[in-house]
Amino acid sequence: MADKIATREAYGAALAEFGAKYDKLVVLDADLAAATKTGVFKKAFPDRFFDCGIAEGNMMVVAAGLSTAGFIPFASTFAMFAAGRAFEQVRNAIGYPHLNVKIGATHGGISVGEDGATHQCLEDFGTMRTIPGMVVMQPADAVEARAMVEAAIKHDGPCYMRFGRYAVPTLFGDDYKFELGKGIVMADGSDVTLVATGLMVEQALAARELLAADGIKARVINIHTIKPLDADLILKAAADTGAIVTAEEHNIIGGLGSAVCECVAGAKPVPVLRVGVEDQFGRSGKVPPLLEMYGLTAANIAAKAKEAIKLK
């Protein structure tokens, strides 16, 4: 379980694996197949792979058209261009007619690293979450990424999946079961709940250890489906622990933190502190110092957890 692997790698491998099982699965990319890893599928199923060139808006709507002909298209590019540039195409041609298109967006978050702010999408959960009927997901590791791809294939309707460029540890074993829309309690606790997604799940688990050293018992929840959010699990955590800290590689506006606030505010108001990129753009750098610089760390989650407990 110690091997590190980027979720984009698992995404490409999963497409190639499930391409054999689901003959209506087709893949589109916008000249980034080497980076999004859809190239793995292209190699296995060249007749079902369509490069659209650097034209993401067209790609999304071609995918919409393919879905009306009975195909299950996966359209891939970087998160910035899927959820940002092509937002309107996704909204009007996929979301509004509720078409069966799967958007595989890689290079989400600050962990893109050296390419810097133009390519570090910190807004995709926000834009995609506002589209009615859109499922929004992000895996925490390669095992979850693979399972997510098959869940998306089986789900009838549009899905947005964000995968990462940066290699992360494998958290789950072979017995892992993915249930769309259900959060996963990674570790129990009664004083505060840490709700994390993507590579921040690892940080939340590390934060739990830091808090334990100070006698604080933290529950850790992995949210792989940001929409529809597992409201039951979040509200139970609010009731059981009375304080929540969210953690994500996203602007603190619009993402998981916002979704959790929206959930508890109307049903079980408790303090919610949000760890994320604090309404800034990213910048170039190696990933570890970037995560440090933007507060996407176990230490910051632990500090926020102590603050949240004080607000109870």
Binding site: A55, N58, V61, A64, G65, T68, A69, P73, E88, A93
Partner: protein, 279 residues
């Protein structure tokens, strides 16, 4: 085309115009000009060319149509109603809060609408996806779309044009409704997309130019499009915006406005006179 059939299709085109006008008048809003300009093309496709079944609007191997210039919804709704997909009487519910007939085409609720459209530049991309899907399915069906001339100012139209040629989508045919007017004025003054022929040719398309109101020319172009292998076809259809209603013809103010009662009555009289003459 034999004269009797031509006369019949011509009459249907004017009935479609009448239905589109009724829809816009009932809604007191909508887009009459660009609906009236495409009536003969819609008539030819839906009453002569396309393999479709109003009783089974979703059959898998049907031909597809995408109204890329989705604001001409009164035109396509009237066509679908007259073809039997839903009652002609329903056209009078256009744009009402409890109607299926949304301001722009909605594939989820309107029988016969193959693709939701209205956001300009998107429909041709969807048509590309459908054409690619048709080839993958091996159904041998075709995909037809109508673009606006002003719509071609959208960059995505040319992304799609590249895609269609690259993947040799010879089962795709796009009509360009070249009526010469867009909301802000003459297309040539707002942002001139001409020449269409040279542009589509340069993008690798088979290009045909016709009079959009001449059924013989439409038929010949459609047959030429079907005969062309290895390339998508663009039919540049020179049309009259507002065709059939004298005061709307070539008048930009009727792009997106509904007639008042007196104007409506005049339009009805003009259209009904043509319909009667073709009976």
């Amino acid at each position: 085309m034999v004269e009797s059939r031509k006369r019949e299709l011509s009459r249907i085109a004017y009935q479609i115009r009448r239905g589109a006008l009724d829809a816009v008048y009932s809604a007191a809003s909508g887009h009459p000009g660009g609906s009236l300009s495409i009536a003969e093309i819609l008539t030819y496709l839906y009453f002569e060319e396309m393999n479709i079944d109003p009783k089974d609007p979703k059959k898998a191997d049907r031909d597809r149509f995408v109204l890329s210039k989705g604001h001409a919804s009164p035109g396509i709704y009237s066509t679908l109603a007259h073809r039997g997909f839903f009652p002609v009487e329903d056209l009078k519910t256009f744009r009402q809060h409890d109607s299926i007939l949304q301001g722009h085409p909605d594939m989820k609720h309107i029988p016969g609408v193959d693709m939701t459209s209205g956001s300009l530049g998107l429909g041709i991309s969807a048509a590309c996806g459908m054409a690619l899907g048709a080839k993958l399915n091996g159904y041998n069906n075709r995909v037809w779309t109508i673009l606006g001339d002003g719509e071609s100012e959208e960059g995505q139209v040319w992304e799609a044009a590249m895609f269609a040629a690259h993947y040799k989508l010879d089962n795709l045919c796009a009509f360009i409704d070249w009526n010469g007017l867009q909301i802000d004025g003459p297309v040539a003054e707002v942002m001139n997309p001409a020449p269409f022929e040279a542009k589509f040719e340069a993008f690798g398309w088979n290009v045909i130019s016709i009079d959009a109101h001449n059924l013989d020319e439409i038929e010949a172009a459609v047959n030429a499009a079907k005969a062309c292998k290895g390339k998508p076809t663009a039919i540049i259809a020179k049309s009259t915006k507002g065709k059939g209603v004298s005061y709307m013809e070539n008048n930009v103010s009727w792009h997106g406005a509904a007639p008042k009662q007196e104007q409506y009555e005049q339009a009805v009289a003009e259209l009904d006179a043509v319909i009667a003459s073709l009976n």
